[in-house]
Subunit: 209 residues, 2 copies
Amino acid sequence: MRHGHFQDLTAGRGKRERTRSALLDAAVEVVAEKGVEAAKISDITTAAGLANGTFYNHFNDKDEILREAAYGIAFEVVRRLDAEMEGIDDAAIRVVTATTRFVSILTAERDWSAVLLGGADRLPDFREDLYRYLRSDLERGVAQKKFDVEVTTFLIDQVVALIAVAVRAQLHTAPDPRLTREVCGSVLRLLGMTPSKAARAIEAASRQG
Amino acid sequence: MRHGHFQDLTAGRGKRERTRSALLDAAVEVVAEKGVEAAKISDITTAAGLANGTFYNHFNDKDEILREAAYGIAFEVVRRLDAEMEGIDDAAIRVVTATTRFVSILTAERDWSAVLLGGADRLPDFREDLYRYLRSDLERGVAQKKFDVEVTTFLIDQVVALIAVAVRAQLHTAPDPRLTREVCGSVLRLLGMTPSKAARAIEAASRQG
DNA sequence: CTCAAATATGAGAGTACTCTCATATTTGAG
DNA sequence: CTCAAATATGAGAGTACTCTCATATTTGAG
């Protein structure tokens, strides 16, 4: 059993919560290794070093544990992102910073990607939060006349899809900052910036970061 | 049992091929309804109106039939696309036409989307063909000085991801040509066209189409 | 240290399939 | 129409799990 994020959160707490966290960490590990569908409850308990029946003392089914794992990870990612976004006013720089940091967090905590990529549709409420978050930055950019688009859910779908490409590309290889930088440019151009303005914004962001 | 593309292809041929096609059509139908993982072999034979054991006279496992179904569909989509692309010289118009027609084929043959979206990683050889195809249009655009990008696999990943967003958005709703048009603009901007040139290319393509 | 409450255990019943094979049916060449 | 070959059938053995529950173990408040 590897130690993970959820066990960190509950270290020193009661047995119940520690066991629960061990299961959550094991679920993340197994999903990263085998994928969501192939991850069996018995794989999770084995990875956690617990008996099979223990699972059912804590969760009803696989969907429930994966939803909780994805939610916990998403929460932590947002927490770390938020810290870095504070005080950035320019919307283009905000988008570049958020994208860069997001990808960098997921390539550092490699197992998290599989859970978030596989759990996206499992988490309609988180998806809504994420979309609200992105939407506000995109609307800020439109207000600042940096972006020239109509901010729709469909547009955010596209932004998210591009970022997901960057995450997926670095999932099974060493992190490559050039890919992340490239996808930042793609996102800005998608949002209606000219190629040259997009390139300048990325420059500015990397000076500022 | 609904009648589908594969049965059309083998109508009037020997029993073996017709049964095989019935299974392929049923597989497409079941995957569209339940998704790749939830689609069971027994669902497929039931949908085809055949006995369970019949499946194994034709395929070894689910992966094999889905690979063949995805390949057959991909082949047909490319066949229809190719017909429309002939004689278009301008790379931007080629990309817009290909994207528009691709999305329109998949929204017309609704069940195909789920098989192609779910079968993308099942088909490394098809993926290579598709990428080669796209790559040649992108390089043409660079040569024509319409696109201002380095044509890499990572770039094609992004183009494909944007087109997939358009397909997915229209999967469970009525087709909406505005979404397709919007994603065409996104693709052209992604490829380094300025927003205004991208908009003009889409205009030109819709006049030409 | 004690012991009631909390928690973990794992055997096994139940479920949902996959895959095989002896048999029945259908095909289509002659 | 005939009949050997081709094909389909479906019962059932096998597999891989999920989920329960009586029992064993551990916890931590007092």
